[in-house]
Symmetry: C2
Subunit: 537 residues, 2 copies
């Protein structure tokens, strides 16, 4: 299939090449094109997979760029991020148009996603200038201490080195080439090598142009950023095994995330992998809430479930409640809304097929009842909402019912009582989010559940819905395995910069050689701990 | 061999049992005794290895204790740590006497180590009360934000769960049962299950008594602390694979650390392992420093090399310098001092044998010259200082020369010039420390080396020696692989609490249910970031 004339309009500036630093390079491997999921048409231009040579060149450039790049001041890096945001904003129309063709996501949503992506870059610029991320600490010398004097010891977090980033299909901007992983790694002072997602190669190329423009303007070394195109397992594996790569950011499937984690663990020098993988985001509807507002809960739930064809990491795929009249009312209302859902185009025909397979497997379970199906979208990648239920006992008996169905499918677990509901929660794998809906009468029940929710999830929500992840200082988009491969961090929000830093102590290092944030005069004015006490001096 | 009458005096209160929470349990496996490394005599009492049942019971208790323990206020946990320190201090004489029998370390050093251990506990008490470790963040709701209101989002770091700790042989107090890993995990709110080191079982039992007394006084759940005795790979493997264990702290050999890391990575739910393993701690002697003070450098170097029979993780095992008259003078002086070293008893006969094997292998290398040997100690575990040299070219040609020789052996690399010295540094594995000795004339040379040293080590020292690790806020005792399995943290100093925490977001959680540090009234008065800005309110 070839591109339609309409498609061509959006691809006029695309030439199908990778970016090895500033150099445009076309691979010598298989040809690959993104596909319009609405029509099934392959889009121009054609791209080609790169081999071992492009990985080697990009990583060598990144490693060579590292010391110069990390030597920039936080103000310089903040300005660099802001310039990337500027160039992204300037390219909004082209990005949105191309991303819409490649992903089927509505243009309004994609316009919002450009703003989210630039907002994220600007957030890290703000974080850089504030300076708390340095984790600067000073324990001054105590020359008169007995029995031995104490040396001068200062601590700072430094960037880990070049970072490999694997973007997700479901956010072609905010979790892709210039998404949170890239923004936080660049903020930390790490050069980045991105593997473009095959599903939105043109969007990736446009985003790469924005960052290349900023690299050139800022006079930064070329190796600060490269964009590679290649077979996921092959090129991705090479990238993770490259000895110059020091950390990995990934958002995608559990299988792919685990493969990268394993490759990283088997290196002669293992490195951290931050893989955001799978989550079914349990939502607990407590009895008081169901009694009080079953219909409103159903409206909110189905809205969250079907948003973006259900293609959110935080999609509410599991609902837990005690079987009672309130739950029955909720299910009736939710079923009606699911049935009237028109369906939407999914990101790729492959994702739509996987969704059908995964959700059909759950629907075919002998203990599972299908409550409602929406209309399948008229599309080459049709999404179709699906609502099912199962008893608490049956859910507990089969861990396979915890499988993620990436799309607008949810399973409602009808529990006998709160004790069984608690048991179900206890048996869940790690999650990105856990939500509770309460009435005033539910507060003690919620209080009893909270410790369990904290242990199972990276974010606990009350009376809201897990889709919609704020980019801010307090956000955690992470959680215990298998929601992520490393529950100690977040992939969204300003705390993400921590992923790409490690602390170093400087003992009796002469003032002239100390990193600026540790010098007595604190030229960047960063907050520091002196003898353990926070100070802004 | 049985214990001498003198040995018995120190063991009067020891009964050879494990602690499964408050319960004293004797294993049903092989009998094991610590050995007096000076005499080779096995010490009373006999201990016995435990099997799968004790791991299961200790981990179940720890898991059951977790929610109650983490619900304690930081002030309560601080008081608990201080009471442990109190009981340790009260047991100083017995601890020092027993540890001396079991390790051969001088009593003055061991007395200092008790103080270091109690100081460490008190440091974490101080950290707990200050509250910065919570990482509290608040992004208040913005109900009027367009196009969508922002929910109230708050973030806090919570403890990860039960922690397994494996102590080291070389610090029977400060890196063992109540060492840094245990202190930081307990501070974080994590119950701890320790596997006692076979080399100092009596010291371990005495330390466990101190913590049990504090647990009882504080009315904490029994499962907060257990002490197991067992075969390292077997019981250790079981402990790391237990699904209730959520993190591991380890100090010891590279082989054992890698085995535990691999076991943790292969779990159905992988967990973080903080293993401190091997480091040869390069020391660079720059030309100006050698010209100015070769003899003083030799004195300092040999003092650091032979301290504690060289049994420090930070022992300076590798010296790098440009071959010139200054280096010759340094080597003559260092050789004389090594030759006059009387040797000391090593920790165990096994460690002494390993040291002889490892150092003999380096000495037998065809390109290595033995410059000086000290006297072997008259002991069942004899230490013997050893100074060797090799050319930069030969060192670069054989990565095997980077092997750790745990003991008082060092290899001096005679480089042709600074360029070759830089190449040698570049080829080194990750290290706990990297040291540079400079004169004023060396500052530019040192400046050029610094980025490389930062990338290779967790702590960079100028004009001092790496042995002696301050317990403070600014210390990093960590570093890139294989110095540790996770270079993002430290095993010494207050930052170590970070290892056992992970962030959780609370979205629209009612004030009454929020964790105290996130409530509007901030009852503990912890520092927080509100909209990203640090505040003490």
């Amino acid at each position: 299939m070839s591109a339609t004339p309409q498609d061509q309009a959006a691809t006029v500036s695309l030439d199908g090449a990778m970016f090895i630093g500033a150099e445009r390079v076309t691979g010598d491997g298989a040809e690959v094109r993104s596909v319009n999921p609405q029509t099934g048409d392959a889009l121009d231009p054609p791209y080609r997979y790169g081999g071992a040579d492009v990985v080697d060149r990009a990583c060598r450039l990144a490693d060579e760029a590292f010391d110069d790049y990390r030597a920039t001041s936080p103000g310089q890096r903040a300005h660099f991020l802001e310039r990337i945001a500027h160039h992204l904003t300037a390219a909004t129309d082209a990005l949105v148009e191309r991303a819409h063709l490649e992903t089927g996501l509505p243009t309004a949503r994609l316009t919002g996603e450009v703003a989210r992506t630039t907002g994220q870059l600007r957030l890290f610029a703000e974080v850089l200038r504030e300076g708390g991320w340095y984790g600067a600490r000073i324990d001054p010398a105590l020359p008169d201490r007995a029995p031995q004097p104490r040396p001068d010891i200062r601590q700072l977090r430094i960037p880990v080195g070049p970072v490999a980033v694997f973007g997700a299909s479901n956010f072609p901007l905010a979790f892709s080439v210039l998404g949170g992983d890239t923004a936080s790694a660049l903020a930390a002072g790490c050069p980045v090598v991105v593997k473009a997602h095959d599903a939105h190669l043109g969007t990736s190329e446009l985003a790469a142009h924005a960052i290349r423009a900023a690299v050139t303007e800022a006079g930064l070394p070329d190796g600060v950023f490269s964009l590679l195109i290649g077979d996921g397992p092959i090129l991705g594996g090479r990238l993770v095994r490259d000895p110059r790569v020091q950390a990995v950011g990934f958002t995608g499937s559990r299988a792919a995330g685990l493969a990268l984690s394993q490759a990283a663990a088997e290196r002669p020098e293992p490195i951290p992998v931050y893989a955001e993988m799978s989550s079914i985001n349990p939502v607990v509807l407590l009895p008081g809430a169901l009694t009080e507002r079953a219909d409103a809960l159903a409206t909110g739930f189905v809205g969250s479930l079907t948003l973006g064809a259900g293609q959110f990491c935080t999609n509410p795929g599991l609902v837990l409640a005690v079987a009672d009249a309130g739950l029955d009312a909720f299910l009736r209302s939710a079923a009606k809304r699911v049935e009237s859902d028109a369906g939407a185009t999914m990101l790729t025909p492959h994702i739509a097929r996987s969704y059908r397979t995964e959700s059909a497997a759950v629907a075919a379970h002998p203990e599972v009842t299908v409550l409602a199906r929406g209309t399948a979208a008229d599309s080459a990648a049709p999404g179709q909402a699906l609502l099912m239920s199962v008893s608490g006992e049956a859910f507990l008996a089969d861990p396979g019912l915890q499988r993620e169905m990436f799309g607008a499918a949810a399973l409602v677990v009808r529990c006998d009582d709160l004790s069984q509901l608690t048991e179900v929660l206890r048996g869940l794998e790690g999650q990105l989010t856990a939500t509770v809906h309460t009435a005033d009468s539910d507060l003690d029940r919620a209080r009893a559940l909270l410790p369990l929710l904290e242990r199972r999830a990276g974010r606990v929500l009350f009376n809201s819905w897990p889709t919609g992840v704020e980019v801010g200082h307090a956000m955690v988009h992470g959680g215990p395995y298998p929601a992520t491969s490393d529950g100690r961090s977040t992939s969204v929000g300003s705390l993400a910069i921590d992923r790409f830093l490690r602390p170093v102590s400087y003992q009796d290092v002469p003032e002239a050689l100390l990193p600026a944030p540790l010098r007595d005069d604190n030229p960047y004015g960063v907050p520091r701990r002196v003898e353990g006490k926070l100070t802004s001096e």
